[in-house]
């Protein structure tokens, strides 16, 4: 099954990359941009048929490896 794991900086944590990108977009004339947070997204192809089980599995992967839960949050979506 295809699973999407999104990992993003926690609200209270500094996001230097997002900051730099927001500034760059501003310089490019995209004045409407107020804020940017930069995260990662992982598309997993996982063997299995039970969405619940696969999701639980993916959550474990996120906690163990994909996300640094000290400074990042994450969410998991089973696509199909």
């Amino acid at each position: 099954m295809k699973v999407e794991v999104r990992v993003y900086p926690r609200e209270d944590v500094l996001d230097p990359q997002g900051k730099a990108i927001a500034a760059a977009l501003g310089r490019l004339g995209h004045r409407a941009v107020r804020d940017v947070r930069a995260g990662k997204v992982f598309f997993l192809d996982v063997a299995g048929s039970d969405p619940k089980a696969v999701e639980a599995d993916a959550r474990r992967m996120a906690e163990e490896l994909l996300a640094n839960t000290l400074i990042e949050g994450f969410d998991v979506r089973v696509l199909a």
């Binding site: 230097p16 730099a20 990108i21 760059a24 930069a38």
Partner: protein, 231 residues
Amino acid sequence: MKFGIVVFPGSNCDADCYHVAKDLLGCEAEYIWHHDTDLKGADAVILPGGFAYGDYLRAGALARFSPVMESVAEFAGKGGAVLGICNGFQVLLEAGLLPGAVRINRGLRYVCRDIHLRVENDATPFTSLYGKRSVVKMPVGHMEGNYTAPPETLEELRREGRIVFRYCDSEGRVVDSANPNGAVDGIAGICNREGNVVGLMPHPDRCSESLLGNDAGIKMFESAVAALAAR
């Protein structure tokens, strides 16, 4: 002969290139702040290594929008000699002055060490003093040097002899074990169709005096001096 050295916020090797041009070659050299659009009458322009804009998003992605880049493109369009070293090469790629892109090294780690290069094209203003197929030792220092390009682009690069440097072993064999980042076809440096714009991942500026244990890199700068003298 005057070198213009572009300084982006986050450029680190601007002073290193300046040192080579001024102190080692005795040429004129001047820094060009990324906000300037005037290239100060430089005969050759160097985009130095470093982490322009912290390499945030993608190496070179934010720097390519600096005002100075329009002038650099114009200068290159008129046949001016432009050299992009490491981060400077990444900026040239993002700016479209050279084709292709670099991804994170296949080892997912920063690599700082000596490698060997085979000079595949000695017809550019920065390689004329190297014999064709000569093997040169040079250091690399980068996290994103894993060059790639669409098949048709690669074909074109090969056909037109625009691959300038390939990673090789000390005997000049282009083998995977000598490739520090996974770049396709061992590509370490390329040039544009006219040959006046050259970019490479390795650092000639870091091996231009024997005190540092290697002066193989200074020929790239001397080549430029010779090329311009010939003009």
